[in-house]
């Protein structure tokens, strides 16, 4: 409870910087009023959402020590997205449509909510799998084919996410 009261920590500064940078990219030209309105707006958003972001560990994704892990994760995810698109395109366009739809349960290994969401969304983006829900510490995943269900058993993406989460102790 004491930690929740803390008015300012690293995450707030990170969020503020991120919002302000985003504002600058979106503003048509850099002038005194655009910068001052941006500072005010970023400050207000950070202030009103300060009770949502208190956990220091959530944002290890953005820490400097994790840059290598994050980049390999993103490249791997891009590769998986391309592969999954080609797979699904093949299935959709083949006359017989070789699918065997099924639900599988996958244990949730990441600890923090941020990484649970990240892994859930990564599952949805990878070949033939779709995250439905988290029930009792397990993802319920809908798999389009048997092969896709097998691939979930030891997923490379999951290893990447776990290494990002564990990167900053």
């Amino acid at each position: 409870m004491n930690k929740r009261k803390k008015s300012l920590n690293r995450n707030h500064i990170l969020l503020f910087g991120f919002l302000f940078g985003f504002w600058l990219v979106l503003s048509p030209r850099i002038s005194v009023e655009s910068i001052s309105i941006g500072l005010l707006a970023s400050f207000m958003v950070t202030y009103f959402s300060k009770s949502y972001i208190t956990d220091e560990g959530e944002l290890s994704f953005f820490s400097v020590g994790n840059v290598k892990n994050v980049i390999t994760y993103i490249l791997r995810l891009l590769l998986e997205i391309v592969k999954s698109n080609i797979d699904v395109a093949k299935i959709v366009l083949s006359p017989t449509m070789p699918i065997s739809p099924q639900f599988v349960r996958v244990p949730v290994k990441p600890q923090k909510d941020f990484y649970k969401v990240l892994y859930g969304n990564s599952i949805t983006l990878t070949p033939g799998t779709l995250t439905v829900d988290i029930v009792d510490g397990e993802y319920i995943v809908h798999a389009l084919t048997d092969g896709a269900a097998e691939d979930l058993k030891n997923s490379i993406i999951e290893k990447h996410i776990l290494s990002i989460e564990g990167g900053r102790q």
Binding site: F22, V25, L26, I81, V82, S84, N85, V88, A89, I91, V92, L93, M97, I99, P101, F103, G120, N121, S122, T124, L125, G128, L130, T131, V132, D133, I140, H142, L144
Partner: protein
């Protein structure tokens, strides 16, 4: 000339993936399988179309904005798919009356 060629190839691939997504939406048997087709194909379809625009513009502020759009599309697509799949799953569970 080469630039135009690359843009054309990217746009053609993008339209192809959108087409596959739409065909999948019609051909697949149930809600979950249909979502596989649409979420997968739209991700890469939108990605390739935006990439073509980035190459067309060259490197400037507009390109950065386009990449930000791409980032948000790739975050929101799986999230929307998740909420629809959850709704379909709960409905299926209610109709069948079993906890599976």
């Amino acid at each position: 000339m080469i630039k135009i060629g690359i843009i054309l190839i990217l746009l053609a691939a993008s339209s192809f993936f959108f087409l596959v997504g739409t065909i999948g939406l019609i051909r697949m048997p149930d809600a979950f399988c249909r979502m596989h087709a649409t979420t997968k194909s739209d991700t890469l379809g939108a990605g390739l179309a935006l990439l073509a625009l980035v190459i067309y513009r060259g490197f400037d502020v507009i390109s950065i904005k386009l990449l930000i759009i791409l980032l948000f599309v790739w975050i929101t697509t799986p999230t929307a798919a998740h909420i629809m799949a959850k709704a379909a799953y709960n409905q299926k569970k209610t109709i069948e009356g079993v906890d599976q």
